[in-house]
Amino acid sequence: MNNVNVAESIDNIGDSIIDGLLNKVTPEIQDEANYKMKLAAKIYAAMKKKGWNKNELAKQMNKRNSVITRWLSGYHNFECDTIREIEKKLNINLLNLEEDVVDIEQLPSLKAASTYNLPPIDYEGGKVVEFWESKAQKTLKATNG
């Protein structure tokens, strides 16, 4: 197997175009997107916790599936009555977005890196360390001493 080359994936082809677009994303646009995305993520996480899919929530809320898809898209402007009804059905406080609501899952085809018996990445040696250091990496480092 070739050497791990995460840093190789970081170059600047296309960056000017993407950066040009992102420069036009105002703080207001980003704040609104963040808020709506967190709201949708919280509903989705609560659905999963109850074992409900879109069909089940649609049934419980007496709505069409397409309405639920829109709610979960991260684009929807919710009305107060709708929020109250969702909170009741899912037993959540939807407007408290500071709670850790995200329930990340893997698709069955790619469950975990360990499945592939790959060596850990030397993040310290790569440029990616500048961008983030996840809890998982910290845990890994702590485990490895």
Partner: protein
Amino acid sequence: MKLRLRLLKQFSGKMASFYTIVVDEKDDKFSTFINENVKKFENELLQMAARFKSMGTSTGATNNFFKLEESANPDDEKVACYYDIPDKKFRLFCIKMSDKLIVLGGGGEKPWYHIKWQHNPKLKKEGEFIMMVSETIDLKITHGDLGLSLDGLLFTGNLKIM
């Protein structure tokens, strides 16, 4: 044709990473998609970019944000679409490896009179391309040439996929 995965640091964060596909070391599928659509759909693309950033830093790329299982191959459940809400004017193809790892492909406008993306020549071409890339990634993973980092946020191994 040479293809390589490239990390999009602009959208990637502690919750999810986004990659694009560099073609022949000249351009990449995602920035080409922006270039092709920015004049007509600038507002929609700004909203999309803001949401990718939210996924990368805050929510993760959970299934609810995508239209899943777009591949013609029923065994390949990773090919998905991202589209603008509520008007659904365009489709952006992607490979959803997990809630933490997305490969963005190309896409284009989906006129209302094309009920399925397969009916639109541009979308058909982009859809078939992303399916081919998805199958290639699967093969490379199977052969141990490509994998995921322990936290699931990054590809490891040889990022040149073709």
